[in-house]
Amino acid sequence: ITPIINNNNHNNNNINTPIKNIQSFNFKFFTTTTTSNPIHQQTTTTTTTTPSTEQQQLSKEAEEINENITKYNITLTDSCVKELNSVQKKSDSTDIFLRVMVDMGGCSGYQYIIKVENKLQDDDVLFIRNGAKVIIDKISLEMMEGSIIDYETALMRSSFVVASNPNTIKSCGCKISFELKK
């Protein structure tokens, strides 16, 4: 009560009209209590975080991957994506999938089979990065988690390969056949 009285006196000293004086006092008091701002004259405005939103959109456009890529830690390299999109353009089918599967055989016990298909089977897991689609069946995926799928280019051959697979011990020269860790 005492501060209010003091303020009132202060206002009386400065302004002549009593009625306006009272109204002005009420207004100021209301403003003070609602904003909890000790300095009456100063006002602050907040700006929206537009730059971060734009950056977020840019990074989203640059790298479009589906959830399975991160879930199973499968990497599709840039050259793999580029070549697969190239195969897609040359093809008549609307959908092109690169099938990668593990089979018995080869000189090291197991081997990869890589081919192009246009159908998705029930037990396939789909990996998408920037429009490139790779499918691995669930059984093969158990032996391929963490793998890198690449398109290798060299004088002798250019081909899709499983460039690295942490579940394997070794592979033969062309990286088709491999031996599993136990």
Binding site: S91, K115, L155, M156, R157, S159, G173, C174
Partner: protein
């Protein structure tokens, strides 16, 4: 690790030490046109003893011709230099180039290959040290 060429079994060629199909020749021309190596005089066809069936072909840019190397002139300005160590197993071989959605690669129809591994990259050949076996004559 370098990539080796796939070998397939085939009939011997009576004419040439080494021959190429049209698609292989076309691809080699593309490679030579794109070449970025100075002093490149052709492609070197070599061999290395590795892989699960014993031997594998290699293909590299050649900058020099060694003493016992053999040069096959596939076309004007297109030279295939056959490494001296690879000569015996290359005799009669035809080089092809195939393109598929999955891969594009050179393959070798090798009449001397008696066995290849599953992917065809590694192969074994006849034993030329057998005394009564006649070696093919050079052209």
């Amino acid at each position: 690790m370098s990539i080796s060429g796939v070998v397939k079994l085939g009939k011997p060629s009576k004419k040439a030490i080494f021959s190429m199909t049209d698609s292989a020749l076309k691809r080699v021309k593309e490679i030579m046109n794109d070449k970025k190596i100075d002093n490149c005089i052709g492609l070197r066809l070599g061999i290395k003893e590795r892989g699960c069936s014993g031997m594998s072909y290699t293909l590299d840019f050649a900058t020099q011709k060694n003493k016992f190397d053999e040069t096959v002139v596939a076309d004007k300005d297109i030279n295939i230099i056959v490494d001296s160590k690879a000569l015996l197993s290359v005799i009669g071989t035809e080089m092809d180039y195939i393109e598929e959605p999955i891969k594009k690669e050179f393959i070798f129809i090798n009449p001397n290959a008696t066995n290849t591994c599953g992917c065809g990259e590694s192969f074994t050949t006849k034993d030329f040290s057998i005394p009564d076996l006649k070696l093919p004559k050079k052209n």
